[in-house]
């Protein structure tokens, strides 16, 4: 499914954010990506949803070579990748529901379907009551959950989550991880970047640990 082969990413010349990373993730797997602040977790995810290109190495997603894909095809690939951003990236002038709906609108889905699926997704993260709140009317944790709802609303093939529990209390964190693993069960290959090592322990899933851009050890 996902094949990362000797990928490096340099910003400027001084330091590598990622050095010669290689790993394979099978279809339907759920993998944690851990590491200290600045270790390169977000950078790796950014390569996977094509916000940036690797400086060296290859990334194969399904049949596509992400390092070579043409610009015109990027949007169509992204439609199969759901992303929960570390900084949420909600559209400020749209309500929670409209933000979630965006993923479906872009696909040209019908109004009825958009409404049904949007409500479903908001319900899943426990925010149906805040459907008409604008992002500035949401707490940090609520915004994070809206971002989750938007990522999962279209049942993506790949789900990337960057620090999805950073702004959540324990109770909410646990619920959110339950939700992500449920979506994973339904078939979505899931990669979760987090620095909360105690979380990964609880799930006993495969864990990739980054230390200053180097893939240190792989635990299971």
């Amino acid at each position: 499914m996902l094949n990362v082969e000797g990928v490096s990413k340099y910003y400027g010349q001084r330091q590598a954010a990622l050095s010669n990373i290689s790993f394979r993730i099978d279809k339907g797997e759920m993998v944690f990506l851990t590491g200290a602040s600045g270790a390169g977790k977000s950078t790796l995810l950014r390569l996977l949803y094509l916000e940036e290109k690797p400086s060296a190495g290859r990334i194969l997603l399904d049949r596509f070579d992400l390092s070579r894909i043409s610009k015109r095809k990027i949007p169509f690939l992204r439609r199969h990748v759901g992303v929960i951003f570390q900084d949420f990236r909600l559209i400020p002038e749209r309500t929670a529901a409209e933000n979630v709906a965006l993923t479906l609108e872009v696909l040209g889905k019908s109004g009825r379907e958009i409404r049904r699926k949007t409500d479903e997704a908001l319900n899943l993260v426990g925010l149906l009551g805040k459907r008409n709140n604008y992002p500035y009317q949401l707490s940090g944790g609520e915004a994070q959950r809206v971002s989750v709802a938007r990522a999962v609303v279209n049942e993506p093939l790949v789900l990337l989550a960057d620090e999805p529990t950073g702004n959540l209390d324990e109770q909410n964190s646990r619920e959110l991880l339950e939700l992500l693993s449920e979506i994973n069960m339904r078939g979505a290959t899931t990669i979760i970047a987090t620095h909360q090592v105690q979380l990964t322990a609880k799930y006993a899933k495969r864990t990739l640990n980054l230390v200053s851009g180097i893939l240190e050890k792989e635990t299971r």
Partner: protein, 286 residues
Amino acid sequence: MRSFGRIFVEIWRSVRFELLSTLGSLLTIFLATLLPGLFWIASKNLTQTEAELKSGLTMDVFLREELTVEQITRLTKEFMGLGGVTGVTYVSKEDALNRMMQKFGPKMLAGLEDENPLPASFILSVDKSVFTQGVAEALSKKISRYPEVDDIVFAGDILNRLGNILRTTEILGFALSVMVAFAALFIIANTVRVAISDRRKTVEIMQLVGATRGYILTPFVMLGGMLGFSGAILSALALNWITGYVSNHLIKLVFLESHEIFTFIMSGLCLGMVGAFIATRKYLKI
């Protein structure tokens, strides 16, 4: 797929909170398109007037004395043989006096009948070729060689100089119009830029969830097109009114013909879309 409804919602999102600004930009575009329109109409009318003046222009050949019928026939024939001459009319001393009286009124010239001081003349109609450099001079040299001819008067030189001035003015006007068109392009681009810059985060996020360039561009390009289109229509209406007003109060003017109006308005539309496209592109990453 991508419904018109969505596009208008997007446009409305841009315009909603910025109604005043949108109206301001409409006013600006209206004014900006007014100037090229004015120059277009002015140039159209001037060209037409100049053509009329030229086609009505004659070369007056004054004669030493009245001619006999044979002389008239002969000279008429010979003058017609000269290049550029399209018609020859003989004006006797009496005809000349009648014309003068019509011009200045009989009272002023009363008593002139008894001893008519005006000379007889030939009036030659000429075609456009005479307005080319040197042709008129050659023609009048040829004619002045006839012993019957006393003096030749031809206003073509003055008209030519006037024409040159008109053309210079037209070139200036055209240059100014092009600059103004650029300005209009810029104004529209800027208005759309404000709209998109206010929503740059939206655009960025749309791209991240899989929106294509076209999906994001379309509403903004349409907004620009609508601005240019409406501005040009307002401008055309104003030009029509101005032309009418001047026609009634100053001098008769012709307005643009319908296909020219169409060109004018479509130029506004295209200008708007191009301006918007340029402005929007910058904010797209892919």
